[in-house]
Every structure is written in C-alpha cells, then in structure tokens.
Symmetry: C2
Subunit: 377 residues, 2 copies
Amino acid sequence: MTLANFFTLESRDGEARTGRLATPHGVVRTPAFMPVGTAGAMKGLHWREVRDAGADIVLGNTYHLMLRPGAERIAALGGLQQFTGWNGPMLTDSGGFQVMSLAQLRKLDERGVTFRSHIDGSSHELTPERSIGIQRLLGSDIAMQLDECVKLPAERTDIERAMRLSLRWGERSRRAFESAPHGFMLFGIAQGGDVPELRRASARGMVDTGFHGYAIGGLAVGEPQAVMLAMIEEVVPILPRDRPRYLMGVGTPEDMLEAVARGIDMFDCVLPTRNGRHGMAFTRRGPVNLANARHADDPRPLDEESSWPATRSYARAYLHHLVKSGETLGAMLLSEINIAYYQQLMRDMRDAIVQGSFERFREQTRAGWAQGDITPR
Amino acid sequence: MTLANFFTLESRDGEARTGRLATPHGVVRTPAFMPVGTAGAMKGLHWREVRDAGADIVLGNTYHLMLRPGAERIAALGGLQQFTGWNGPMLTDSGGFQVMSLAQLRKLDERGVTFRSHIDGSSHELTPERSIGIQRLLGSDIAMQLDECVKLPAERTDIERAMRLSLRWGERSRRAFESAPHGFMLFGIAQGGDVPELRRASARGMVDTGFHGYAIGGLAVGEPQAVMLAMIEEVVPILPRDRPRYLMGVGTPEDMLEAVARGIDMFDCVLPTRNGRHGMAFTRRGPVNLANARHADDPRPLDEESSWPATRSYARAYLHHLVKSGETLGAMLLSEINIAYYQQLMRDMRDAIVQGSFERFREQTRAGWAQGDITPR
C-alpha cells in the first residue's frame, strides 16, 4: 500500500529542487538543514535562536533520549516538542548509529541489537519495532527506520550483509509504523557502503517497501567526498521524484552544495555547533579559525555583509578573546553564527533554484570559499 | 577638593533608598545589582539577556582583563563597552582581590603588589596608580581604588595594617584619577574586617579623602551574616547621604534585602551565574535544586507568576534533564533565570521604597523564602 505523501515539489533547476514538507508541527522548506539537538537541547543555543536563524526542523537522537530522560517519561510530559519547548517539526534517528558508536557490549542479530548504556551501564534492546515505538513516544514528526551502518572502508561481504539486514529491518519498521496517526512520517534508509550495485539494490529494495521519504545513510563515515557524491548519483535516480530525500549526517557547506546539485533535499550534521565550540566559524569566504592570533587586534566583524547580527557586529578581536579564554559565550556565539550560516546557505540555494540560477550560485559560492578570509590588518 | 556628584537620591523609606547614578554610558537605577562579567563576558548569557533581565550596569574584573586580552589592547579596540558589545555602564574592580585569590608568588608592600599570572606565569605589578591606569584604559564608568582585603577570621593587627594601607592607597588612587575626564567615577573602599572601631576609622578616612562613591569591602568573605550586617551599620552612618554606597561581592537575595534595609545602593556577586551552572535556581520561594529527582516528572515551571519567560515557561522536568545531562542550555537557562530573579528583586525593592512600603515588602519576601518550594506532585 502506498503511503500518503506530505511533500510538495515546488521547483527544479537541473537535479536541484525546492519543496515543502508538511509535518504535524509545521512546514519544512527544502533544501533544509536540520541542526542536531542530541539530548533534547541544542548545545550553546536557545531554541529561539535556532528558529531565528531560519531552521524549520531540528533533529533529536533517539539513543540519548531513550536512556535519559527516557521515552515513556517524555511521552508523559507531552512529547519532545512540549518537553523541550522547541515546538516545531522534529526528526529523530532510529538510535542504531549511536548504539554502534557509543554503547558498550553491543550484540547485533536478526532480531535487533542489545547494548549497555554508556551513562549507567544498564541493559537495553533496540529492535526495529522498539525503535519505532520509542520514536512514537517521543512524538517525532519524522521517524527513521533502524538500520545497520558499516564504517568505511569495509569488506563487500560485510557491507552487503548489513545492507540486506537494513532492508529487512525497514520492512519491520514500516509494519510497526502502521498504527501511527495520519501526518506522522517514516523514512527508509538506503545502505550499501561504497559499492555502486549494493547502493542501487538497497535503494530499489527500500522503494519497494515504500516510505514517506527516503534517506541515504552510511556516508560521510570516512570515505572521500568523491565517493560520497558518486553514491548519491547511484541512489537518487532510483528514488521517486515526489518524495523527500535526506542525506544523513552530512556535512560541510561544500558537501551540501554538491548534494543539493544532485537532488538531495534534507541534511543534518553536528559540524556547525561542534566546530563552533572549537573556535571555528563557517563564512562565505570559507572557514575561519578564531583562535588564530591574527584576530587578536582586529576590530572587524566576521562578515560585515551577513544578515545575522552576531556575524556582522561582534569584533573578531572579541571572538578571539572569548575562544582563548574558554568563555561559554564564545561557543554560544560561534555556534549560532555557524547555524545561521548553514541556514543562510539553504535559503540562498532555495532562492537560486526558484530563480533557475543554481549553477551560477554554485560557482559563485565555491569561488567565495576558495577566495579565503579577508586580509589581516 | 570635593568631587562632582553624579548620584541623585530620589526617595527614602527608613534607611532604604532609591536613586539614579548617571554614568557616561547611561543611568543606573539604585538599588542596583551588577552581574559579574569577569573576563568581558557573562558566563552563559548574551548581553541582550543581561539587559532584558533589567541590569543597568555590569562588573568586569581588572585582574582578568589586564592579563588577557590586556588593557592596552582593549583601549585600542575602543574600550570595554565597544570591545564586548555590552555598550552600557560598567564598573571595574581594582584587580587587587583576584591578585590575592588567583595569582601566584604574590609580594605586597607599600608600593603595591607584584605577582605572576595564573594563565602564563608572566610577571606583573599592580600599584594604586597602575590599577587606575588600567581601569582608565578599559574605559570603565566606575573605577575602584586598589585595596587590601583580609580574609576573616584574622588578627586585629593584620586587619588594621591592611585597612591603613588601603587608606593610603585610596589617597594615591584619587590623585591618579584626577586626570580622568568629567563623568567618570572613582569609588573608595572601606576595610576593617569585623572590628567595629577599625571599620569606623576606615570609613572616616575614606570620606576625608573624598570619592564619587563609597564601597564597603572585605565582607562576605567567610564571616556570619550578622557580622556583615553589623559592620554595614557601623559604616553607613559615616558615609555622606548624597553619595552611592556599594557593598562589594554580596550576595544572596537575603543579604541584599537586609543590606538595602541598612542603606546600601549597589551590589555585585557571581552567585546567580555560578549557582545557575550548578543547577540551582533562585526563586521567590527560596533556592530550588533542579538536580533533585523530585523534578524529573514535573511539568510545572519554576514559578508560573514570574515576569521572566524562561522562569514561567520551561518545565522543571526539562531543566532537571538538562542539568543531569550536563547540557550547556541548562547552565544558560538557570543563569539567566537567576540574573532575572536578582533584577526582579531590585526592581521590587525600588518600587517598595518609592511607595513607602519597604518594611512590608521585606517581611513578605522573607516569608516567601521561608515558605519553601511548591509541593512535589
């Protein structure tokens, strides 16, 4: 049975596209970047700043939330949106990726994965059905199927085994999601590592199962960018044109520009906040390391033409001082500056696609990044 | 020669008073609480939140700023207000207190104090003249004289020696300040530990020297509250009625309520931000420890009647989760909630004094604190 479609494709320019995804908590304009609020909070930002920066949707991590404060507790408190105060669309991952990277004593079999919490050592099981159950308790607008993501490089047999398992888990996830109220969505995830025919087989199997939207997982896990883009090019032609496409865990501004050029609609990544905590700003002239002594006496802002107040008003000298002093405000300001830059890039891409000038925008944007930061004074 | 007076006493109710202190960067309504932005930043708050909470003035620490980024650098960047983006009145301390508590290899003599930086071990000298010079470079609206603060309990001879030295340093500070442009202010500091006659001698000496305003230092350094209040009662009658009175490093809400009742106009303290980082909220029903498990399932806000949005909107369960998870947002929200509570207390005291109902307000406020937090559910 075909699932209802909540995505409206609005305009296309080459493979790049804009659209609107209607969720129970509001509309998401695509291409969309989803800031990552791991444990129900955005590190260093108030929700109002995330919203003001232009984010329509944020991501929560099921693994963290199921362990603390717990899915049943969040459900009793009215769901993630009411609990956190974000009150907008939220996507949650399945929990599988973090079980693999954070939990202890993992044991994976056909049924699912058992593990011990990295917080208190308590024992937990995550199956496709339990993952959906948790995400329903959280009240996430978009749930993700449980999958197995293999770190690259990996043996082809391992990649294929994980890909086939992910397809079977996708079918179980869809069955488990059938009782969800109208409007809530479930996305499938294509795996297949860096092997083109496995990527295609995964995409075909996923589309056969049928989901509200389609994600590409298992990329940006150590492979060169060219491999990532090649895998997108294998998968995208197989995906239905009228459904949203989500590239998981990606990425740098350049990754996103190139992925949008290849037909991707949604992204999530911890880079803007994580790099912000480490003194790095994303700008239209490429990344700027505020810890560098060249900024110590520089009264100029990061980018005087930015539409984001903190980017165009705070002196580089002040940001440098905050970073060197380890002041929380430095991480707060650079995290919001980076989230705002990511959202500005999305807005600019959407505008360029609507105007049919995406190729020119892509060249100009790449040229800006290549130009590098303003000359020291 | 009498110094110009920028303080306007507006109303009195018993010993409690309201007034307005005109600084080069704006007017300060008193009684005033000055949040502490140690190194040119408020920990966990944006400047706009400090302003929105109702703070007219903030405090910067000369010791931290002289070491990093350096007073000459801040001067070249336009002064503290422009450097930080606070753009409002700022008071700076003399640096002496932190030299005593943070620096290494201190050596104190008549001339001043030499020390090694706790950041990089570099050697520095702080004299009354250099402290004024640094505070002038910083562009602070209100500079403090260099003094020697003795930790209590202490021997009377030590207390007296430090008090006499502080008086001599006060005279040198005033001479060094004579070239400051009109409108900028210098406050003297009364010392004298917990010895009434030394406190009175210090206050008389300080008033003889003459300053724009008068501070009481060396309290809230380990002595019981009753001793602190008794020392205020020794000093205040000696101070000119038409000048602002500042109780340094104080304190808890109760400390401030009792000090205002005894004629104090200004306060500063790290408690609201420091305790906020440790999961503690100040409320009109006393302190609330958000780390306590009783809040884990409680959807109610900290105080539904608060005028501050975060205080009346975020669920205790969410704040509890943020504190337990060590999320930055927890420290950010509780710091702003506490700063907002301190400012609300100041505003309420000012209103009560103007209305002649300070005594009733004081009783009701103490009763609220004594009542304790709302019943768990």
